[in-house]
């Protein structure tokens, strides 16, 4: 009896600590924004709601947001599922190299991707000039369009769908597949009736993650939409805020709630879909069966590699060429090519060096802290079905679904004054950016873990419980090893996203706490595109080197820890 209550106290304490942390990260900033919306400047009024909802620009941007988010998600899903199935289930060759290449776009900041693609298609495109196909002077870059935005969103986020699907396919029970095949089912029937239905949880999770990412993406619609006057909600908010200042903070709070409503609707739909049926899988097999493509193998391989060359290698080549020109618009020749831009950002520009240090520190800290939080949090959510936390799950989505600028403004409002009790000001330090990252990327770490718990059977943990192991011990010795691959995948996603993050740090940085995203963006905005390209190339090199470096220790990690490793 005494042990029982001791365990209960331990569980309560842990639960409340988790609730407190999650509320602090997710709910507090949102409440501060909500306060601003219903009580602009501190007095209660419906003025902000009225002025925003009556403004036609609001509904135009909402329409644009929905169109591009759906389009981007659809494209990402088609690409992600196709590549995921082929790579995980068939006998294509050089899978490791291909997975590495395919996941890479996720590493690149959206603004870097947009910048690279713009270099590719503009009238001064070195590449198009080489083949004599550069468009005439003054001709519109075809990417300045909704189609361009959808295309880049799809390319950017296809790896998200791919990663979650592939993680799911690893637990695909071979018994069922073998049984179906033995019963004479054709491969496509197996795919349709067994594989895809069983993969519903990871697929829905991946698609949901992809949808909120597209909805909240700022870099791509900022680069491709603003020049053509095609505004989505995040860019509308950013422009209002940047152009008209905090006088519109209340309006912007209302706008951001609109995005929140769209995101929550999508996510609620996900919960409904998963809630109806039981998708838990019990399997003893660890490696899914390999399907032999036979004479289709070469064509499939060619299609896969062409896709990656097109969406990754070619734009990166364009970015590389831009980083070598002495000034924008100068034709690149053997004589004009220069490494001056690299020299400047590496050796002459102190802020760029600091940015590397800050971005590394912030991304690692955010990834580790969130992983540590997500494992017990998701445990209570999924296995213990704690109602409070399941509700909190939806709240945790919001800081990620909302555009980073809104979270940034909420953070400014929260932290401008010294923290209560301890009296320390974190505004104008890296800590406020870290808070922003933790709040925003919590869901990135949480989602894979939640879906991991969904797929794992609880019997092992229950056995440990019956044997008398307390929760903290079970977490350490039973649960953590089980969900470690999912948690590590989440942490890596966070690192990759945070490393090149721009939208939050754009408003929260100060001298000394510059991030790489901010520095690239500052160069680009000041008209120093070659510097921006050089720094962006360096971040790409660093990210790729890091990924390669983790491959060296990959043998010691459980399978599925490194998303880019087959």
């Amino acid at each position: 009896m005494a042990q029982r209550s001791g365990e209960q106290i331990e569980e309560r304490a842990l639960l409340w600590a988790l609730v407190l942390a999650a509320m602090l990260l997710s709910l507090l900033p949102l409440l501060r924004l909500l306060l601003e919306a219903v009580a602009p400047g501190g007095t209660l009024s419906g003025r902000a709601f009225e002025s925003v909802l009556r403004n036609p620009a609001t509904w135009t941007a909402t329409g644009h947001s929905i169109v591009t988010a759906f389009g981007g998600t659809l494209l990402a899903t088609v690409i992600g599922v196709a590549v995921g199935l082929v790579v995980a289930l068939t006998d294509v060759r050089a899978r490791s190299a291909y997975v590495f290449l395919f996941v890479l776009p996720l590493l690149l900041a959206p603004q870097v991707v947009a910048l690279a693609w713009l270099q590719l298609f503009g009238p001064s495109s070195t590449l198009l000039k080489m083949i004599g196909m550069a468009p005439a002077l003054g001709s519109r870059n075809p990417l300045y369009s909704p189609t361009g935005i959808v295309l880049l969103l799809g390319v950017q986020y296809a790896p998200l769908v791919f990663l979650t699907l592939r993680a799911g396919l690893r637990t695909l029970p071979n018994e069922l597949v073998e049984a179906a095949l033995a019963g004479g089912a054709r491969p496509f029937t197996v795919l349709r009736t067994i594989v895809l239905p069983l993969m519903t949880p990871p697929l829905v999770a991946g698609i949901a993650l992809c949808f909120v990412s597209c909805l909240g993406n700022f870099g791509i619609p900022a680069f491709l939409g603003i020049p053509g006057g095609y505004l989505v909600l995040p860019t509308l908010i950013y422009q209002r805020l940047a152009g008209l200042g905090p006088s519109v903070l209340s309006d912007v709070a209302v706008l951001s709630m609109l995005i929140g409503v769209i995101a929550v609707t999508g996510l609620a739909l996900q919960d409904v879909m998963l809630g109806r049926r039981d998708f838990r899988i019990v399997t003893t097999s660890t490696t899914p069966r390999t399907w032999h493509l036979r004479r289709w193998r070469l064509p499939v391989e060619i299609a896969l590699w062409s896709l990656s060359v097109l969406v990754l290698v070619v734009p990166l080549a364009a970015l590389l060429l831009t980083s070598l020109v002495p000034a924008i618009g100068v034709a690149l020749t053997a004589a004009s090519a220069t490494l001056d831009n690299y020299r400047f950002v590496l050796f002459e520009h102190a802020a760029a060096r600091r940015a590397f240090r800050n971005s590394f520190g912030l991304s690692i800290a955010a990834a580790l802290l969130i992983a540590a939080l997500a494992v017990p949090l998701a445990y209570f959510m999924v296995w213990r079905r704690t109602r409070l936390l399941r509700w909190l799950n939806l709240i945790a989505e919001l800081p990620y679904a909302l555009p980073g600028v809104v979270l940034a403004i909420a953070a400014i409002l929260l932290f401008l004054k010294p923290l209560p009790v301890i009296g320390v000001t974190i505004y104008n330090t890296v800590w406020i950016i870290l808070f922003g990252y933790l709040a925003r990327f919590l869901v990135l770490g949480l989602r894979p873990v939640v879906s991991g718990y969904h797929q794992l059977d609880r019997t092992l943990e229950e056995a440990a419980q019956i044997a008398g192991a307390r929760l903290l011990r079970r977490l350490r010795t039973v649960i953590l090893p089980l969900v470690a691959p999912a948690a590590a995948a989440g942490a890596l996603l966070i690192f990759l996203t945070a490393f090149n993050e721009l939208t939050i740090s754009a408003l929260l940085w100060s001298s000394g706490s510059e991030t790489l995203g901010v520095t690239v963006f500052s160069f680009q905005q000041g008209g120093d595109t070659p510097y921006a390209a050089a720094l962006a190339m360096l971040t790409v090199v660093v990210s790729v080197s890091l990924m390669l470096a983790t491959m060296l220790v990959a043998g010691r990690l459980p399978r599925g820890v490194l998303p880019w490793r087959d």
Partner: protein, 332 residues
């Protein structure tokens, strides 16, 4: 022999210490200084480097963005009661005038204004123009036409070919808008015609330069120094001073009343207005406020730039209405 050496060393050391003390006293300023500026990244870091050379005791922190964004950040900090900035170096006097009206600026009566044009600084010595930045027309060298005036841009030849900076981001563009819309020869009509000709408003002057140099938009409304600096580095860009005149901003420097380090803030204003600071500006391609230090290398010898007069107080009055109208017209 040894005693001599020791004695000599003592004297040298004594002199050195006295000298150091004297320089420290003369400079005085130390501690932390927070600068909010709209200068391009590279120029801002060069300005800070120049200032630190003259005031090694001061640690400078910089926040850089478009003028409107800098003002937005400031306003957020005012409303929360904790402005962080000590000094401002932003594009235009209208923004400064607005801050002055709200009682946000600290006067510096002893600032060295000798040799500055009388209109270039506030009579109450709260802000001081540091340079002259005119806005004209940048042209890609492969472009068909060569506009001579603002009015030329309204012609059908330029349909879909023009980029301009958004006044919702750039302070220089806000002044341009305020100045040009008040003129009878241009007015709002000019901007409406540009819109009808599918001109686009991009975020800032940097984005205009990129579009023009890339050839995406062969013509752009742009500040002078960016065009000439790019040209000097080999970009296919030329610059036209339009016939009607060039709207201009003075990139004023000012001290916030809430500064935590008034000594360092004054030292910063001193540096910006000093011959060294002005020469640095000229070397970065700006027309300095103090003409005696010489012009930037691109400056056409012997020419006089025709500056469009700006009624600052009228611009301050109409600024937010202007920005809203512009936003409605161009969508950003």
């Amino acid at each position: 022999m040894t005693t001599w050496a020791v004695r000599a060393l003592r004297i040298v050391l004594g002199c050195a210490m006295a000298l150091t003390a004297a320089t420290a006293a003369a400079q005085g300023a130390k501690g932390k200084l927070v600068l909010y500026t709209s200068q391009p990244e590279r120029d801002a870091s060069q300005t800070v480097a120049g200032f630190k050379q003259a005031n090694p005791g001061v640690d400078v922190e910089v926040f850089r963005s478009g003028t409107t964004e800098v003002m937005g950040k400031l306003a957020a900090e005012f409303s929360a009661g904790q402005p962080k900035a000590d000094v401002l170096l932003i594009a235009d006097a209208a923004s400064m005038e607005a801050l002055k009206r709200d009682g946000r600026l600290l006067a510096y009566p002893n600032a060295n204004v000798s040799g500055l044009a009388p209109g270039s600084f506030d009579a109450d010595k709260t802000y001081f123009g540091s340079k002259l930045i005119t806005t004209g027309i940048a042209v890609n060298t492969s472009a068909k036409n060569r506009p001579k005036s603002w009015a030329d841009l309204e012609k059908p030849d330029y349909k879909g070919q023009i980029a301009m900076p958004s006044p919702l981001y750039s302070g220089a563009a806000a002044i341009m808008l305020g100045t040009m819309t008040m003129r009878s020869d241009l007015g709002w009509q000019f901007f409406e015609k540009l819109k009808a000709e599918d001109a686009i408003a991009v975020r800032g002057n940097g984005a205009v330069l990129t579009a023009v140099a890339n050839g995406e938009k062969p013509y752009g409304v742009l500040v002078d120094f960016m065009a000439f600096n790019a040209k000097a580095k080999g970009s296919p860009v030329d610059f036209v001073f339009p016939a009607e005149g060039s709207p201009a901003v003075t990139e004023p420097v000012a001290i916030l009343k809430t500064t935590q380090n008034a000594d360092a803030a004054r030292a910063f204003v001193d540096f910006i207005l000093s011959d060294a600071g002005q020469k640095l500006a000229a070397s970065m391609g700006y027309i300095p406020a103090r003409a005696s230090v010489g012009m930037p290398s691109w400056f056409p010898q012997g020419t006089r730039i025709n500056i469009m007069p700006t009624n600052i107080s009228a611009v301050v009055q109409s600024n937010s209405a202007n920005l809203k109208r512009f936003a409605d017209l161009f969508g950003n």
